[in-house]
């Protein structure tokens, strides 16, 4: 059911703002409407302005805290199982300033250590690069900063691989005598060479070197030999490494504060959402104005709260022209609530529409059950669902998901029993392997064998489809009657039903006048909104083309049968592969891996195909979508559960 909404208009004292928003947050049933559009009106913007809500660095600290938690989780991952529930804390603990102050210090320390590690890592990679560049000069015993004597120059450099020391020597010999060439090293890209020459022949030597594209290497301020330098760099790197691991240890020590940081993140998130709400208000110097949507059943609780403050307020029902803006909250029982996940994936209903959850519950779960169609798979889903529900205490989408696992687990078990399928044909194969002969106690439950009797399955699928389409049309008729248009219901739904009934009677008994009456009803009524008589007739005749639409809709349900076949054949292939090994242990390995894969890949397809049949074939008949979700100001935590 779509929860009715009331529009709250409230004037209150600016000095009460923080306390009032805080209490509204704890109630969690008011969505604040942003008022900034009103400021575009010049007559209002003179006297009103946005309420000034100082941020107090919450956002900055929130992102720092999130980063700190990420760093902690990187260096000291939390030991937790996937089925661990969230920690419970009291509201006063969540909203304690003392906690934020205390944790802020820890957060800043983690940030400091992380920054130190980053600096050290940058220094380490600089040193690594330097070491790499010195490595080729290791066998040079001269100190790196020795550039010559009064009359002699020493020059280190690199040349292309083709210009070896011999080539260099030959070329230099053509222009000068007072020189020497020392090959130091060579690799695939270049030769490392030192040239010593007398200053008297400098210009001749230099021009030869230039021509041979000898590129000079300068070692900057480095002193000592290459080898000494490399040793020193290695010592530095070792000390940096030690320091990094010390810093890492310090971060690990801080991991005892993890729970505090998580609580702090949640606490800051609440402050931020209160500030976000405050920024949607309008105010003068002493008074503020709040407009919001309140769920109608909570009107009394909000009234009780507001009466404690100096304020003026009223609740109003939304006017029809406001319907597109009214947020949507769905209220369901435990069986239909999980279907919110399916509904939200499409779109929430419009305020004047209808809550589809109870309407898709039976169809979605049955379709899922049929297409997944295996007792073993169903049992696995059911166990997973129950485990997650009881251990995890999930909320939101995860809660819907566990609910769906349980519901669809049950329907899958039932459908699997009807198809006589338990992990494919695992039971007879295992009994055969154990030397007991082929035995299958599930055969007693089997209603239909998809492998040998697929036509029965196909007809069954199409009949289920026809039922869903007729129910969809009935809902449309109900909505039309509810909105005071019973004639439209009769013409748009009744005429089609007459035609369908006529086709059924005609096919079974060979009497066709009911179908003809249905066609006549369609031709006479479907063009009734057209202004002219010829328009009405053409509109009526054109509507008969919709028959192909209904035909296509019903055929679309053939996918139920095809996916049953796919699941059971793949199951059988896995079991067959396993039994070919002839060894029960190898069979178990193939069985677990194969069925695990099959379940994982099939569950996505099954979910989407079940959902799609609701969206296109079913919703198309009656659903008015386009609602936006109700997002009240409320305590919304990620890591802790508020008691």
């Amino acid at each position: 059911m779509i929860v009715k909404m009331k529009k709250l208009s409230l004037f209150a004292m600016l000095s009460d703002r923080e306390a009032l928003l805080h209490e509204l947050m704890l109630l969690g049933c008011v969505e604040v409407i942003p008022q900034s559009e009103k400021l575009l009106d010049p007559s209002l913007s003179e006297s009103l302005s946005r309420v000034n809500a100082p941020e107090q660095d919450y956002r900055n600290l929130h992102s720092k805290a999130t980063a700190a938690l990420g760093i902690l989780n990187r260096y000291a991952p939390a030991k937790s199982s996937i089925f661990a529930p969230r920690r419970e804390v009291g509201a006063e603990e969540l909203f304690s300033d003392e906690l934020v102050c205390r944790t802020k210090k820890v957060i800043l320390r983690i940030e400091e250590h992380q920054n130190r590690i980053a600096t050290l890592q940058a220094e380490a990679s600089r040193l690594e690069a330097l070491k790499l560049s010195l490595e080729p000069w290791k066998s040079n015993k001269m100190t790196l900063n020795f550039l010559g004597t009064e009359n002699v120059r020493v020059m280190a450099g690199t040349t292309l691989p083709s210009v070896t020391a011999e080539v260099l020597r030959e070329e230099l010999a053509k222009v000068a005598e007072e020189f020497e060439v020392f090959p130091i090293n060579s690799d695939r890209e270049q030769n490392y060479i030192i040239v010593i020459f007398h200053k008297a022949v400098e210009s001749e030597v230099m021009s030869v070197l230039r021509n041979l594209s000898f590129s000079r290497v300068v070692f900057g301020s480095l002193k000592g030999t290459a080898e000494e330098n490399i040793e020193e760099i290695e010592a530095q790197l070792a000390s940096i490494k030690r320091e990094i691991s010390e810093e890492t240890e310090k971060i690990k020590e801080l991991s005892s504060h993890r729970a505090d940081i998580e609580l702090c993140i949640d606490s800051l998130a609440q402050e931020i959402s209160k500030i976000d709400a405050a920024q949607k208000l309008l105010g003068t110097e002493s008074v503020f104005y709040l407009e919001g949507w309140v769920t109608a059943p909570d009107e009394k609780r909000v009234t009780d709260l507001l009466l404690k403050y100096t304020c003026a307020f009223e609740f109003a029902d939304p006017a029809p022209e406001e319907y597109p803006d009214v947020p949507i909250k769905l209220k369901n029982n435990r069986l239909t609530e999980p279907l919110t996940m399916v509904t939200e994936m499409y779109s929430l209903p419009a305020y004047e529409g209808i809550d589809p959850n109870p309407l898709i519950m039976p169809f979605f779960s049955v379709f899922f059950g049929i297409m997944y169609g295996d007792m073993g798979y169903g049992i696995v889903l059911l166990i997973l669902g129950i485990l997650a529900k009881t251990k995890l205490k999930p909320r939101g989408v995860l809660n819907y998901m566990t609910g769906l696992l349980i519901i669809c687990g049950v329907t899958t078990i039932l459908a699997g029993a009807a198809f006589g399928s338990f992990f494919g044909n695992a039971i007879p194969i295992v009994t055969e392997m154990l030397g007991l002969g082929e035995k299958d106690p599930l055969l007693a439950l089997r209603l239909i064998d998809p492998m040998t009797d697929p036509l029965k399955l196909l007809v069954g699928s199409l009949i289920i489809g026809a039922i869903q389409i007729i129910v969809g049309m009935a809902i449309k008729a109900y909505m039309l009657i509810r909105d005071g248009k019973p004639l439209d219901a009769l013409f748009d739904v009744g005429s089609w039903w007459l035609l369908f009934a006529g086709i059924a009677v005609g096919a079974l008994k060979g009497v066709w006048w009911v179908a003809i009456a249905g066609v006549a009803a369609l031709v006479l009524t479907q063009g009734r909104n057209k202004p002219t008589i010829p328009g009405k007739i053409i509109g009526g005749i054109a509507s008969l083309y919709d028959i192909t639409g209904y035909f296509g809709d019903i055929l679309s349900y053939a996918r139920l049968m095809a996916l049953v076949l796919a699941t059971s054949v793949i199951g059988s292939v896995i079991n067959l592969l396993g039994s070919l090994t002839g060894n029960i242990i190898l069979f178990a390995v193939i069985f677990i891996a194969g069925h695990g894969f099959s379940m994982a890949i099939n569950i996505i397809g099954t979910y989407v195909h079940s959902a799609r049949l609701q969206y296109l074939e079913y919703f198309g008949k009656f659903y008015i979508d386009g609602g936006k979700a109700f997002r009240p100001l409320k305590v919304d935590t990620k890591y802790v559960e508020v008691k």
């Binding site: 994936m345 697929p454 036509l455 095809a562 076949l565 796919a566 793949i570 059988s572 996505i604 397809g605």
Partner: protein, 155 residues
Amino acid sequence: MGLVLAFLGASLAAALCCVASAKGTGMTGEAATGLLREDPSQFSKTLILQVLPGTQGLYGLVIWFFALLQIGVFAGNIIPLTLVQGLRVFVACIPMMLGGWLSAIYQGRVAAASISIIAKKPADWSKGIILCITVEFYAILSLLASFIMLLNAID
């Protein structure tokens, strides 16, 4: 000769569908890596989109299995098919070969394009799934057509 034709049909159904599924999932995977480089947290969504064009390979395997089942390979005594019977099995496999082959590639293209929905509007990514499933339906119809023809191909 009949047996050769029947085997040819079964192998082509499995092979073409698997190759095309590999192509479809491959395209989507490539597109996904581009997004994951920027935002690794979207991994589960991209994975779901990636496996969608993978189902045609499974459907191809279903037809392969069913054809071999009809020929009696798994029962241990292969029926010596006449030329006409073998040709019937081959023809029955044609819808799956072509339908699975082409639909997996086109579905892969839709899935790869849907990765960009995750990049821009992560909340609306499920619409991409629906678009993919629209293509998949035709692979399902092909599976049905082949399957029903195979049922009576050897009688």
